[in-house]
């Protein structure tokens, strides 16, 4: 897929349009001019969500009713789709080629991967950021997985509520076990599916992982099930079923669901050391990029095309050596958008790219 043109109207401070390069696009400008807003617009066009806020209303230009982001996406040599996301209040209207579409059908029209400081949570934050990274990656190649995740979360929520009321009403262990049984049975089958999908996805990431993309240290990843060391993970369903039975009392005492894939983690190490604890922030950033690139490669294997790669404020996050290695790697693969406020960045990396100066939200193709 190729984003040929992007337009914005009353979205943040943006105006005008960008005629994009299929390779590298550099959005250049001073702080506060709207470089990141353009990436946000692309992300909105791709996912129908903002990466900055959950209240889309905030993204509509102050004093305006309707915010619009529009883009032409080339799907193949002869097929181009006109995508549009129109925001009105907190609601959004999605359309493809001028016809309204449901979110389910709209998603998948344009896929994008973002690298920004929020995404650093994946390498330095809590396990839930890493689980989300895996789950989003799986959903991108296997959309029906969304339902498995949402059913699983629902079961955990119901189970927590049940355990909480068991605690409040002093239920006996036997009664609690009885009440938990129908939820645990679903949990076993849903958790097994999630476990299998994540293990398989990490395997696929591993086969394409550029462990030494940035030289020096070697990055490794491994899916760390919370049931590790508790028995045979090869027969996950049997193992979790046994653990659930064994731990009823602990769950009753704590009032929370203690067993399942919501306690798992993705272990990221460099030269065998835990990246989260011992990695420098440069090492963490490199590792994040290596993970994102692996994600993009798996997506390519599955779909035969690359998603967009959006890199926000890339020079604040990475040194020029790494940026050079990264851009070289991506060259000829993904359509890439980077934002920068540094002249030296443009001088160094603009060969073969399109440079847009952003002033007051308006893009102007830079002639060099």
């Amino acid at each position: 897929m190729l984003l040929e043109r992007l337009e914005a109207l009353n979205f943040r401070n943006l105006s005008g349009k960008i005629e994009c390069s299929g390779h590298l696009n550099i959005l250049f400008g001073e702080n506060g001019q709207g470089k990141t807003n353009w990436l946000e617009a692309m992300h909105l066009l791709s996912t129908t969500k903002s990466f900055k806020t959950s209240r889309l209303k905030e993204t509509i230009c102050f004093g305006e009713e309707l915010g619009i982001v529009r883009g032409s996406v080339k799907k193949s040599a002869e097929i181009t789709h006109e995508l549009q996301v129109a925001l009105q209040g907190n609601s959004k209207i999605l359309s493809v080629n001028g016809k309204k579409e449901t979110v389910q059908r709209y998603l998948g029209e344009l896929h994008a991967v973002v690298f920004n400081s929020d995404e650093l949570e994946i390498v330095r934050g809590n396990p839930d950021a890493r689980r989300k990274f895996l789950d989003n990656g799986i959903v991108a190649i296997y959309p029906a997985f969304v339902q498995t995740l949402s059913d699983y979360n629902r079961v955990i929520k119901q189970k927590n509520s049940l355990l909480q009321s068991a605690l409040d009403h002093d239920y006996s262990l036997e009664k609690t076990a009885d009440l938990l049984a129908p939820w645990n049975e679903q949990l076993v089958s849903l958790a097994s599916r999630i476990h299998k999908a994540r293990v398989r996805f990490v395997e696929r990431l591993n086969t394409v992982l550029e462990k030494k993309l940035f030289g020096r240290e070697e990055i490794s990843i491994r899916y760390a099930s919370s049931l590790e060391g508790r028995g045979d993970l090869g027969d996950y369903a049997a193992l979790i079923e046994e653990r659930l039975k064994f731990r009823v009392q602990a769950e009753l005492v704590s009032g929370h669901a203690l067993i399942g894939t919501h306690r798992d983690d993705l272990e990221v190490t460099f030269d065998g050391l835990d990246l989260r604890k011992f990695g420098s922030s440069g090492q963490q950033r490199s590792a994040l990029l290596i993970l994102l690139i692996a994600n993009v490669s798996v997506y390519f294997e599955q779909n035969g095309e690359y998603p967009l790669f959006l890199l926000d404020d890339v020079d604040a996050e990475l040194d020029y050596r790494r940026i050079g290695q990264l851009l070289e790697f991506l060259n000829g693969k993904t359509q890439t958008f980077v934002t920068t406020s540094k002249d030296s960045f443009v001088e160094r990396f603009s060969a073969g790219s399109l440079v847009f100066s952003i002033v007051g939200g308006h893009p102007e193709l830079h002639r060099t």
Partner: protein, 204 residues
């Protein structure tokens, strides 16, 4: 100060209690009532009264009925050896529309949901067990119980709970199938349903 005179405000408040009715809709309904002729309103009030006076839960199956036991439970034309369990009376209506199920029903009036404070005791399940002995079922032994709760996590948990209670009694417990809607094109089916349909495929 109230926006409207007290009787009108009171009516709006009552409408707001109805499911799916917000403030604006409640206002619209209240003004609709105000503009109707008196006879129409009285007929409406009468209908509300009557439904509360005359409709009761069937002692046997918990269906809503004006004769107790209900017409399904007393019909000689229905097969007494199969009982289909549903969550709500309108689920029964949906199954009846197929005209292909000839057995009896049992209505739970809900599904397990700890979040909403619904446990097994809140379901109308206790009167199912007496029905399973032939002496309470016109001499007929119940051979199968079909669990037709919704395909949600709550519906599944309920089905599972019921199966756990009934299986030890030696009764065959079945669950309705999930998958493709009939008469639709494959392309219009969402991924999740398609996925279920593929998983639950059968040999032809």
């Amino acid at each position: 100060m109230l926006d409207y005179s007290e009787p009108v405000a009171k009516l709006i408040d009552e409408f707001k209690r109805l499911p799916g009715i917000g403030h604006k809709n409640a206002q619209r309904l209240a003004f609709f009532i105000l503009r109707r002729p008196k006879e129409d309103v009285e007929r409406f009030v009468e209908a509300l009264h009557e439904v509360k006076e005359r409709i009761v839960f069937c002692n046997v199956c918990n269906n809503l009925t004006d004769v107790n036991p209900c017409l399904y439970c007393t019909s000689p034309a229905r097969a007494r050896d199969v009982i289909c369990i549903v969550e709500e009376p309108y689920n029964l209506v949906a199954i009846e529309k197929t005209r292909s199920f000839k057995g009896l029903y049992h209505i739970l009036h809900g599904a397990l949901s700890p979040i909403r404070g619904v446990g097994p005791d809140e379901l109308m399940l206790a009167n199912l067990f007496p029905r399973l002995s032939p002496e309470n079922n016109e001499g007929v032994e119940v051979a199968e119980v079909i669990v037709a709760t919704n395909p949600t996590t709550e519906g599944e948990a309920t089905a599972n709970y019921i199966a756990r209670l009934l299986k030890p009694l030696g009764i065959r417990v079945t669950r309705i199938a999930m998958g493709m809607p009939v008469g639709s094109d494959l392309e219009f089916v969402d991924e999740v349903t398609m996925d279920k349909a593929l998983t639950n495929r059968h040999e032809i």
